[in-house]
């Protein structure tokens, strides 16, 4: 077990290293950040040159990388070119918002999706199945910016139930600001969480449905029926565990994705999250922030996926884990 953990950690370390090279070289290849730092419409050539030198961007790339890594070792990702705040704490400051949004969305999506999928798959071709199938196609085909707009149109503009954007009132907990603790914050959370959750519900429902159809045709499910188990127990105690590996996989990946890449929703609902920060930083070539965010995202994914792998082993005794 120890070796497994050590193995995983060293792999994660390597991964971060590769990631840093890709991020570094990638940003470098895309363009010169200076054009975003100075006001290109009013800056003089000298301003640009000065800024380039000040940021060390005139140095050879490998040397820049070397310096950067040297700082990272001491826990310093550098200062954002744009915000002039420490890059890492900038990322961390976006974390609560992102985390509560992603968690809320997943807490809605995973149970709803699984339940719908199970019920639909159990009676393939039945009314519920057809509804789930059609609705999921709808939910998956509609681009997320449309969906978000529709939600704003409906939930905010037409009905006035929810505010259209922002985080609302926040409460400080563990030194961070959280919205989910206030009613106002929750109502602000509702629409963006729904916008994120709806496609996920559809996705999970589809997966669960396909799995259910497959599992329900197997002998042990028939035997469960022959045993006299109630339909509900068969569904939840036998079918559910047997379809859960792909669902857990997807939930893990999607959760990671929402932590890092929920750009559209974060933008449209003005939800100050990591995804928006990352995209902005990439577009502005704010390298310290990009690197800090990438590091966070990679750690999140490695962690989530390790968790998912553990869940496999807990779910299915036949699965053997390698490092």
């Amino acid at each position: 077990m120890m070796t497994t953990i050590v193995g995983r950690l060293s792999q994660a370390f390597l991964l971060l290293l590769v990631m840093s090279v890709i991020g570094f070289a990638g940003i470098h290849s895309v363009g010169n950040p200076v054009f975003n730092i100075v006001n290109i419409e009013t800056a003089t050539a000298e301003d640009i040159r000065n800024a380039t030198i000040a940021l060390g961007l005139d140095q050879p790339l490998w040397w820049q990388y070397f310096l950067f890594m040297g700082n990272v070792v001491t826990g310093n990702f550098g200062t954002s070119y744009i915000y002039h705040l420490p890059a890492f704490s900038l990322v961390m400051s976006k974390l609560p918002a992102t985390f509560e949004l992603a968690s809320t969305a997943m807490l809605i999506a995973a149970p709803c999706g699984t339940l719908l999928g199970l019920l639909a798959g159990r009676r393939q071709g039945g009314l519920l199945d057809r509804i789930v199938l059609n609705a999921s196609v709808f939910a998956l085909s509609i681009p997320s910016f449309w969906l978000s707009m529709m939600l704003i149109l409906l939930g905010a503009l037409a009905m006035g139930w929810f505010p259209s954007s922002g985080r609302g009132e926040t409460v400080s907990l563990l030194g961070r600001e959280w919205s989910f603790l206030t009613f106002d914050g929750l109502s602000h959370l509702a629409l963006p969480a729904l916008a994120l959750a709806i496609p996920k519900i559809a996705l999970i429902a589809r997966l669960a449905r396909a799995g259910t159809i497959e599992v329900e045709s197997q002998d042990f499910i028939r035997f469960c029926r022959a045993k006299g188990l109630s339909a509900r127990r068969v569904l939840f105690r036998h079918t559910l565990p047997n379809i859960s590996i792909p669902i857990v996989t997807i939930v893990g990946m999607q959760f990671g994705g929402m932590l890092a890449f929920a750009v559209v929703v974060e933008t449209i609902f003005a939800w100050p999250g990591v995804g928006k920060l990352l995209i902005d930083s990439i577009q502005l070539l704010d390298r310290p922030v990009v690197m800090a965010t990438l590091a966070f995202v990679a750690v999140a994914f490695v962690g989530l996926n390790a968790l998912v792998d553990l869940t496999y082993a807990a779910l299915d005794p036949r699965v053997r884990l390698s490092a």
């Binding site: 895309v30 449309w146 997966l207 045709s217 590996i245 792909p246 999140a300 699965v319």
Partner: protein
């Protein structure tokens, strides 16, 4: 593919309920192929566009004869023609990238599960890496270093999408590995590729197959997003996805047609692919007939 499968596939639409979605999809493909012949206008040719007829509502008759059945966009492109031409690009990009991504992802995923140990570790860490790389960054790097082009977009989408398939297939394959039918296959000393592709893969991809039509939709959307950022297809040759993405801004204005019709067309396309995919899944599942209650 095996004869049996082919036969069932072929027989299906006629034997069972007439598959509307298949017909719809076929129609889409036909329309896309025939676009240059049936579209009233070539929206990629600036000379054919009547700029002063920009933002005409549906039904307006053009100065050069034909009617703009679905209106024109803010630059005077006939929406019908834009849809038809955009369809070609979207289909090309989405189908190719999804197919390649699914193939690579599934293969690597089941391989990781099958070989285990360091192969698993390596592949899965690449997956982790891939999952944590933002699409935009990948696309930016690909397009800046390789230059713009449809193939580059496809590449970018493949890079973004394969990992999902890989992880999904690996998870299922892991629990499939210990089953006796694979032992039997191993005993026969089947070539590895056969074990992977004929035994492990078919039994691990059911969830992934569900994913394919979904990811196809994502590919269209992704391509649109990239185009929106100037990383996709050229702006004057919009794909269906980018037409919708651009027109999205008009959704709330009076000029609903600029976004609505391409949106509906795109929606129909993705929906029909989804339904066909669902039918396919059912066709390919040997146990598809559920046991009665």
């Amino acid at each position: 593919m095996k004869a049996e499968t082919l036969r069932t596939l072929w027989r299906y639409p006629w034997q069972h309920r007439f598959s509307l979605s298949l017909v719809l999809l076929a129609a889409y493909i036909l329309l896309a192929l025939a676009a240059p012949f049936i579209a009233p206008q070539n929206p990629y040719d600036p000379l054919q566009i009547q700029a002063w007829e920009a933002s005409s509502p549906p039904g307006t008759v053009s100065g050069v004869g034909y009617a703009y059945l679905l209106g024109t966009d803010g630059l005077g492109r006939d929406i019908v023609s834009t849809i038809l031409y955009g369809l070609r690009l979207s289909l090309l990009v989405a189908v190719t990238s999804t197919a390649i991504a699914a193939f690579i992802g599934l293969t690597l995923g089941v391989s990781a599960a099958y070989f285990g140990k360091w192969a698993d570790a390596l592949i899965m860490r690449i997956v982790d890496l891939q999952l944590s790389l933002p699409t935009i960054l990948v696309a930016l790097i690909a397009i800046v270093t390789l230059g713009p082009g449809v193939d580059r977009i496809i590449l970018a989408i493949v890079i973004v999408q394969w990992a999902t398939y890989a992880r999904l297939a690996r998870g299922v394959a892991l629990s499939e590995i210990g089953k006796p039918y694979l032992d039997a296959a191993r005993l026969l000393r089947l070539p590895t590729h056969r074990i992977l592709f004929r035994h492990l893969l078919p039994n691990s991809i059911a969830p992934a197959i569900t994913l394919i039509p979904i990811e196809l939709g994502h590919a269209v959307a992704l391509e649109a997003t990239l185009s929106f950022l100037g990383l996709g297809v050229p702006i004057d040759k919009p794909s269906l996805g980018s037409t919708v993405a651009n027109g999205f801004q008009y959704l709330l204005t009076g000029q609903y047609w600029i976004s609505l019709f391409p949106g509906l067309a795109l929606f129909g396309l993705i929906a029909s692919i989804n339904f066909v995919g669902e039918d396919l899944r059912r066709r390919l599942d040997p146990r598809r007939r559920s046991h009665g209650a």
